[in-house]
Amino acid sequence: MNNLIQKLKEQIIERLNLKDLKPADIGDDQPLFVEGIGLDSIDALELIVLLQQEYNIKLSNAEDGPRVFHSIRTMADYITANSGAVKVSP
């Protein structure tokens, strides 16, 4: 799980061009949107694409979005629960 959390932080920083942030700057339970690290609605779409491309997981119910993308840990939990073949480099 810790490897997945670290990998997610790196992927999100790269994919969303969060050049002012390092993985250590993002708390595992820190909210990703608004009052947290300040992601917006376009970023949410990018996170959906990231799940599809990197983890082969399609968010089937849009109403799950706020819960799944609440924090890095909730994303990792969702990936773990929905993927049998998570691609995480050691």
Binding site: N17, L18, K19, I42, D43, L45, E46
Partner: protein, 206 residues
């Protein structure tokens, strides 16, 4: 009688150099991407959203930052009093091509939102809280006659009290932004806002 309009500030970004009011203020070697990011850090701008912008928005954003720096613009005008009239030759083609490439593996929403040239006006407006008249035109080349006529129309219809106008264009490594601040003020170094002067200032840096 309408008050005289003057060009009270200008900014040119081209070929790894920045000129503010005709004076070289910064230069740095490297690709367009490296150069634009270097401008951001050199002028100590703090605006995290900058890193998410496409190259056209970065170019226009930075040109507006340098143009308005030390002008006290935000203190002089209400948010609805500033016009933004921009133009270029390549529309949003630079990011359009990048977006098209992502379609092969999964279209990027973050790129898609920049696939219109007038988004650069939106980014500048968000940064400076502008809510005035704005327009973006695509021409084959810089057209001072059109810009002067259009901006003068906005002034004469009392829609604006000042205007940022000019050219913001980029395609891969070929980039150029030249912006002018037009006001009814007439400070010491101001130049009359005319089509002739716009074309002349643009050609001076060709």
């Amino acid at each position: 009688m309408q008050p005289a309009r003057n060009i009270t500030a200008s900014c040119l970004i081209s070929r790894n150099k920045i000129f503010k009011n005709g004076q070289l203020v910064f230069e740095h070697p490297g690709t367009a991407e490296v150069f634009l990011d270097k401008i951001y850090s050199h002028f100590a701008i703090s605006y995290p959203k900058f890193h998410k912008m496409d190259q056209l928005c970065k170019l226009g954003f930075l040109a507006a930052e340098v143009l308005l720096n030390e002008t006290e613009h935000s203190k002089k005008y209400d948010e609805t009093e500033t016009g933004l009239v921009l133009s270029n030759a390549h529309s949003s083609l630079d990011v359009d091509l990048k977006y098209a490439q992502t379609i092969q593996t999964g279209a990027s929403p973050a790129l898609f939102v920049y696939t219109l040239p007038n988004i650069v006006i939106g980014e500048i407006s968000i940064r400076h809280h502008f809510k005035g008249e704005n327009a973006f035109f695509v021409f084959k080349q810089f057209d001072g006659n059109f810009i002067a006529e259009y901006v003068n129309g906005l002034f004469e219809n009392k829609l604006i009290k000042n205007c940022i106008c000019g050219w913001v264009d980029i395609l891969k490594e070929d980039y150029r932004a030249i912006l002018f601040l037009v006001e009814t003020d007439h400070p010491e170094n101001a130049m009359a806002f005319t089509a002739y002067k716009l074309n002349q200032l643009n050609q001076d840096h060709e």
